[in-house]
Symmetry: C2
Subunit: 96 residues, 2 copies
């Protein structure tokens, strides 16, 4: 499995609205081909920062299948308005 991590800096004061939007966005990404799991974490040191971890079958399932789909437009439309800046996205091979 490939893990995608996305660090999202949210506009301060908009955290609860972002969390409500993310609840809806989770149901959108979950429809994508190759999707396994999503974990949402909120920063302890920086509470306006979130770490989103999404498990995919393959890198292509994320970067092509999801990113180029209408589902991505819906996902970004829900959560994008709360971003303070562009998310930092990285991919990882999960060892165990």
């Amino acid at each position: 499995m490939i893990m995608e991590t996305a660090f999202m800096d949210i506009v301060p004061g908009k955290e609860l609205e972002f969390e409500a939007a993310m609840d809806k966005a989770k149901a959108v990404v979950a429809q994508a081909k190759g999707f396994h799991v999503i974990h949402v974490h909120r920063g302890v040191e920086k509470p306006s920062t979130y770490l989103i971890a999404i498990g995919w079958d393959t890198l292509e399932d994320h970067m092509v299948g999801f990113r180029e789909s209408e589902l991505f437009t819906q996902w970004r439309g829900l959560i994008g308005p709360f971003f303070a800046n562009a998310p930092e996205v990285t991919h990882w091979n999960l060892f165990d």
Copy 2:
């Protein structure tokens, strides 16, 4: 549960030695009070980068209980020699 994330940049060429050391280090940290789980990931974009995610009962279990214990000395002694620079450690509240 609190998730600790540690980004570790490893000296290029030392990745396999680091992974063997991490296998031993996992058994060390697993003895700490409040430890739940450890996940080891290797970077796709930067294969000498690792993301270590460790679940703890509380922030203090990591920052005080583990960091100030002999177990931490063992942990760092195993994996520290392979660091290209200091790990970047962050804590997160896991939503779901």
